[in-house]
Amino acid sequence: MNGPFAAFKWKAALRDWVIFADGLKTTIAVSMVALAIALIIGVILGVFGTSHNKILKKINRVYVSVIQNTPLVIQVFFLYNMLPHLGIMLPVFTVGAIGVGIYHGAYIAEVVRGGIEAVPRGQMEAAISQGFTYTEAMKHIILPQAVKLMLPPLTNQAVSLIKNTSVMAMIAGGDLMYQADSWSSYNLYYGPAYVITGMLYLLLCLPLARFATKLELRTGV
């Protein structure tokens, strides 16, 4: 028996479980850092998008359109291969986290903008008329309401962010996908390698996706 899913291949994969576990750890760590970066970029640029200031609005438009309309792979390759030419040497972990963070920052900016714009205009007017400044009104009145609307789509963003960290496999990132790929390209046991890897991604993402659905039901979106 020597099919792609032969028993001895599974045995080999389970014996080398540490390799997959290392990849999983890296994927989780990169995802967390990337999510933090994406949230920071997303909130700032999302608020820019709702601003009456034309320049801030323009910054939002340019960022979102450029990042959303070019492949993530190109963005990460760009960071990985171009930055050293500018004298900036970053570890692959950092390149991955920044690359994925920048990419999802654009999507989260749209989620944030949508959430803020979904809060009725009268809320800002009521707050302003009571003497709140624009920033205070955002902080105390608008954002707390917008966050409720934003949570389900944000959770969906977290799911696709986790999956997209697999782009690091293309720059030797040490993430789950990379580990599986390099392990199996050495012994050609692709079958179990990809099935196990897929299951691990599923394990990370499915609970989050379920959570998002629950949130959606609760907010009645």
Partner: protein
Amino acid sequence: MIRLEGVHKYYGNLHVLKGIDLTVASGEKLVIIGPSGSGKSTLIRSMNLLERPSEGKIIVDGIDITAPKAPITNVRQSVAMVFQQFNLYPHKTVLENVTLAPILVKKVPRKEAEESGMAFLERVGLKDKAFAYPSQLSGGQQQRVAIARALNMRPKIILFDEPTSALDPEMIQEVLDVMVSLANEGITMVVVTHEMGFARKVADRVIFVDGGEIIEEGPPEHFFKNPNHERTKMFLSRIMH
């Protein structure tokens, strides 16, 4: 207390206010009436600069709020506004709605703001709803909370922008009753409304706005019995029947 001098407002090509001159005295109850699209809402919303005039000056309590760098957030603390759609903060309880701005904007100690907030809620008959959320209240109740929220800022002026227009008919009276009792207390009130009974009862002066201009003004007796202008007569005849 409020003075508008040559106020114009344009939305693109639309000329919404056409040179409004208007003075509201301290303690005066001014009622603004007019057909929809007449500019009356823009007019009252310019008094706290929710709408910035394209031309002209607005002076509130001695401060030119249209001047560059005018201390507008300070002025707004003493000019409260009650909106047609109530605009209560839905994520806050009734009491929090009433105390939020006094605590955060005016820096009133929480305890003090809550005590006065409860007193104002009692005044509008909603003390027992202090810990409810706005969505649990009827429209009339929400608008009464909005009035308590305005009062807890201890304003010198309250602007009412069609406060009963979004209410079911059976709830209009409870809101008007609160407004009438306020009127008897000497606070300056500017009210955009279609409630002619209210205007007759509490207004010191009524102005009729149409096409972005003040067409006619006067005390309510004169206004409702012998209006001078055809447009005023037409409007009144349509609204009174």
